[in-house]
């Protein structure tokens, strides 16, 4: 097969793929959009929440008991992701009260973020294998 034929075949295949993609998009827009609009956003959040509970359940059972203290350190640090809410409240500045509360919440969560990760790192640094030979 010479190079020109190959190139022609390739471009024909590409053309076909583009047509299929366009069709698929039209189909998707026709069917998916109304379904998405109909569902309650709360249900999406609830779905995410429940699935995350299951993920957490299986991941945490896999944590070795020797590392249960570092586990508490890490979970402590990541639960301070609540700082996201604090940042929005402070940064968007819709009201003075919200800014004050947001500022306080951000400072408290930051203690946890830095404190939690650092103390966990200190703990984990001690769990070295020291088997000689």
């Amino acid at each position: 097969m010479n190079p020109t034929d190959l190139a022609n075949q390739a471009s024909a295949t590409a053309q076909r793929a583009l047509e299929l993609a366009a069709q698929a998009r039209m189909l998707a827009e026709a069917h998916v959009a109304p379904v998405a609009a109909a569902a309650d956003p709360f249900l999406y959040l609830l779905t995410i929440f429940l699935l995350a509970c299951f993920v957490g359940y299986y991941v945490v059972w896999n944590v070795t008991p020797a590392l249960h203290s570092p586990l508490m350190g890490v979970t402590n640090a990541i639960s301070s992701v609540i700082v996201v809410g604090a940042i929005l409240a402070t940064g968007l500045g819709e009201s003075l009260a919200a800014q004050v509360f947001g500022f306080l919440a951000a400072a408290l969560a930051a203690v946890n973020i830095f404190g939690g990760f650092i103390v966990t790192r200190r703990m984990l640094a001690m769990f070295q294998s020291k088997k000689k030979g």
């Binding site: 959040l45 991941v59 590392l67 203290s69 609540i82 809410g85 940064g91 001690m126």
Partner: protein, 471 residues
């Protein structure tokens, strides 16, 4: 940054958090896991700062808050002693709780920022979620403050009980529910703060009846609460990352609480109702105070112990909270090293509820440079006691008590124990004959193959080390 992009960034952060927990399945992968967690948090913070509408002044304030809090956190975390880990974690939980309360308040006063309505007319669903996040956050805060005070010995570790306690808590719980309903119906600021105050009081009252040695359960449970509080706030703000992280942390704390309860063969309800070991709890929690000396026990000297261990092939060390109190882990490892040099096999047996938080003993031994391969969990080590020449119990008591297997009337009946009595010789380092936290006598003390080494755990172990070095 557009909303889609920040949502994507949150998704990446959530995945990184899951990987952070996943890394903890083995010590070798755990450090990378912790790094994933930090990167995830960094992504979440940056993505939020880049959201549209962030004002320059606002960003300045945020960076100031993060710098103050972060500086304090870094300072404390890099200086804290590993024996003080449980109270540090309790203190950190309280901050998450209070932070959740403040974020709920911010959302209440500026609902526009979070797209949940306008001040005074917030959507009903959002008010439900907000009050949940608020109440759980407040309970986490005051509960953790009490746990901290007990662990730091700012207040007695003994359970504080009074008549009608449980009815009072139940009444407050119902009142809290009524207030939440009224708040959702009216959206009033006064009710918002009433919920906060009531939840603070409830958190306080829930933890005071729980004794010092039950703190592993309490700390795990508050860990779980801090997760649920974050998830509640996540629902309020419709934030995917907060919901996922809250669920992860909530599940993690719940599993740890379950493991701790199983380690004591008690139900979570039994622990939460508190009052366990009321008679002896205080003294025992403080590391075993006086207590009447009883006759037929065989007391030995550190030299005797050194002599017997020198000729032993297999030694299993059983550390408990008393070791942490006496700060004996370093000298214990020295003893282990010397015995290994003599050709003995030295292993460490950890009971699930040893210490004041899950995995506390493992961290202390790791700090003293004990290789983690030598540290074994209960199920793994129990069959080995029968082959052991020496079981060396340092600062533990109830977790070795055979009454848990034989005496149906004992408060610790059914609790899984370390079978130290199967070893040829059992050493107990204790300050005196006081019973353990559960307030029950340990019959092992009176057995012919048991030798008691009376004194401070660190001092006695030091004397054994000196005796081992002498000859």
């Amino acid at each position: 940054m557009a909303a889609t992009l920040s949502t994507l960034a949150y998704l990446v952060a959530a995945v990184l958090f899951i990987l952070a927990l996943r890394g903890l399945s083995h010590p070798t992968t755990s450090r990378r896991g912790n790094l994933y967690g930090m990167v995830g948090m960094g992504i979440a913070i940056v993505a939020t700062l880049l959201r549209p509408g962030m004002g320059g002044g606002g960003i300045g304030l945020i960076i100031l808050a993060l710098a103050i809090g972060g500086g304090a956190g870094a300072y404390i975390a890099s200086r804290i002693q590993m024996t003080a880990l449980p109270q540090l974690v309790a203190a950190f939980h309280s901050l998450v709780g209070l932070s959740a309360v403040f974020v709920a308040a911010a959302a209440f006063y500026a609902p526009e920022s979070f797209g949940i309505g306008h001040a005074g007319e917030i959507h009903g669903g959002s008010l439900v979620e907000m009050s949940l996040g608020l109440a759980i956050g407040a309970i986490t805060f005051s509960g953790s403050v009490i746990a901290f005070a007990k662990l730091q010995a700012l207040m007695s570790g003994a359970p504080i009980t009074f008549k009608g306690q449980h009815w009072l808590n139940l009444g407050l719980g119902i009142l809290l529910l009524v207030l939440v309903i009224a708040f959702v119906a009216s959206g009033s600021a006064a009710l918002f703060w009433l919920i906060a105050i009531l939840a603070f009081a409830l958190g306080f009252l829930l933890i005071i009846p729980i004794g010092g040695a039950d703190m592993p359960v309490v700390v795990s449970m508050l860990n779980s609460y801090s997760g649920w509080a974050a998830a509640g706030i996540g629902f309020t703000l419709s934030n995917l990352l907060l919901i996922v992280t809250g669920a992860l942390v909530g599940a993690s704390g719940a599993i740890l609480s379950y493991i701790m309860c199983k380690g004591m063969n008690r139900s979570i309800i039994n622990v939460l109702l508190g009052g366990f070991g009321t008679d002896a709890g205080g003294a025992a929690a403080a590391g075993g105070g006086g207590g009447g000396e009883r006759a037929p026990v065989k007391a030995g000297s550190p030299e005797d112990a050194a002599y017997i261990m020198k000729n032993a092939q297999k030694i299993i060390v059983v550390p408990g909270y008393g070791m942490a109190v006496a700060q004996a882990q370093q000298v214990l490892r020295e003893m282990g090293d010397l015995l290994k040099k003599e050709g003995a096999q030295v292993e460490y047996a950890i009971h699930p509820v040893a210490g004041r938080m899950p995995g506390h003993m493992n961290v202390l031994l790791a700090e003293a440079n004990v290789p983690y391969e030598d540290v074994k969990e209960l199920e793994e080590i129990n069959p080995e006691f029968a082959e052991a020449d020496v079981a060396f119990v340092i600062g533990a008591n109830d977790v070795t008590n055979p009454a848990a297997k034989t005496d149906k009337s004992s408060p610790i009946y059914g609790m899984p124990i370390l079978d130290v009595e199967r070893a040829k010789t059992v050493f107990f380092i204790k300050r005196g004959m006081a019973s353990g936290y559960a307030g029950v006598d340990n019959e092992l003390f009176f057995r012919p193959n048991t030798m008691m080494l009376f004194g401070d755990a660190k001092k006695v172990t030091q004397e054994i080390v000196q005796a081992l070095q002498r000859d």
